[in-house]
Symmetry: C2
Subunit: 294 residues, 2 copies
């Protein structure tokens, strides 16, 4: 089947041979409108659970189906995820509901649930989001934001060179082609900059092109910015909100993660994603818990 | 009644003579757990509806009651509001639900609803939030964020000097003591800076002290940053997420609103709020619709 550009960029009928599309696939349950079955693949593990960006993309795919049918509102324009408990590999369900339909935006909510040993549902992630059609987005672009300056990908540091101990806890890195700015990787050599900033080039290892759903993975795919502060360990996301500002063109993404305020046990982690045309395609902020001293 | 500091800062039993506390008051409906009645006061109008920050504070107050009883999780650590339709003065209801209770955080959701002429419910705002106890927050503060530089309040421009045409659309300004940095008000003289930044000093006109709930008003109280881009008109909020990072000390707040990317009909509007001790007490980002040319 030849895909039209719209199908391709919306990710709704994306190539089945992509690890990202398989990992975030949802199947609507027969006779249960709004209920989608999924399988969380261990290949997207990071630290103690499944990567939060992948989970958000998976819930977002279910909402794209649920809100987009008949409206064309297939793109997550603004999406907020509240992380409730650590997900584990295995079956999962997404329960999607429409909150309100409008002319240009439809708002919905979704619950990502897994079952415990007794079969009782345990909620992993609650999502609230407004969807629109970014292909229909018009209007001027007036931006003072500029893409980050960094060396070209072939002069950056591929995470395949990361310490084996780190890679062992980060299965998802094998599915990413992530090239970190050499200025952002002092922490790997025992010399964190203390600036709270990590940036690099990102694309999917299997060549799957970026689209709005993939951007939700991109905003949570880099190592925690706490590494650049010399704080290692697990920084569980409490909440992550992403704004998808445009559909990305094919090619590399540039991703900047930064934090300015670590206080009272929490830090914010901002991400900006730029596409190869130099357009700011996504902005996100998450609130995460500070790693406990080990 | 003499209030204890905890009651005072949590805003749960705040002074009844405060306009903010009256405007964001909620009364639990007898026999209907989780349902709170409220009255939207025309004094908090801005442009075509009730100020979005006041609505968020009102829903947040209901969730503080709903999630905080028995847990002490009274403070909105992270709160996301999706604005669905314009609120109007009159009766409103908040329907609050617990999503998940945890040791340090409780997560809940709330719907702010008004009735149309037929008595049918129309949802205005959907909220998803995680609450904790900021008084219990410990741990180091490592911040690279610095408060904005601006002249002292008595050398800033009080919004009571705003054009009468503007004040007529902004009832809420009478309830704020807002002093804008002279460098931020070129737009009022026909000379917007084009930088997309407005900053100033803020306190409540009636002397009510800042607390976490009041910070939710503070993040949406300044004029839209689009004014500083020379774009006037209504910029409806699609989504606003605020992180309350600490309980503010009594005194003035410094608030910075800024945007970097206006594109495809939307812009992000970031707010940072600093208390008088120089601590970053709240960060927020909203996605808003760009005003249409008039």
């Amino acid at each position: 089947m030849t895909m039209t550009p719209v199908e391709q960029v919306s990710g709704r009928d994306a190539a089945p041979d992509s690890e990202f599309d398989r990992g975030s696939a949802v199947v609507e349950r027969e006779g249960a409108p709004g209920v989608y079955d999924a399988e969380l693949d261990p290949g997207w593990r990071i630290g103690g659970g499944i990567n939060g960006g992948l989970l958000l993309a998976l819930a977002a795919r279910a909402l794209s189906r649920h809100l987009g049918d008949g409206t064309g509102h297939v793109d997550p324009v603004s999406i907020s995820g509240y992380y409730l408990s650590a997900s584990r590999p295995g079956p999962a369900e997404v329960h999607a509901e429409t909150v309100r339909g409008g002319r240009t935006l439809s708002t919905g909510t979704a619950r990502l649930v897994q079952r415990d040993e007794d079969g009782s549902p345990v909620e992993r992630l609650r999502v609230l989001a407004s969807y629109g059609d970014l292909a229909a987005a018009e209007g001027e672009v007036r931006t003072s934001a500029a893409p980050p300056l960094m060396p070209p990908p072939d002069q950056c540091i591929s995470t395949e060179h990361a310490p084996p101990q780190f890679l062992a806890q980060a299965d998802l890195l094998h599915r990413l082609d992530l090239r970190l700015d050499p200025a952002s990787v002092g922490w790997a050599l025992g010399e964190p900059s203390g600036e709270g900033r990590i940036q690099g080039w990102l694309r999917l290892a299997d060549g799957r092109l970026p689209d709005p759903l993939m951007l939700l993975l991109a905003v949570d795919a880099l190592p925690p910015v706490t590494f650049d502060l010399g704080l290692f360990g697990w920084t569980p996301t409490i909440e992550l909100t992403a704004h998808v500002r445009a559909r990305p063109v094919p090619g590399w993404l540039r991703v900047v993660h930064s934090t300015r305020n670590l206080a009272g046990g929490y830090l914010e982690e901002d991400a900006e994603v730029w596409d190869e045309s130099g357009r700011l395609v996504a902005q996100s902020r998450q609130l995460a818990a500070v790693p406990r001293p080990s």
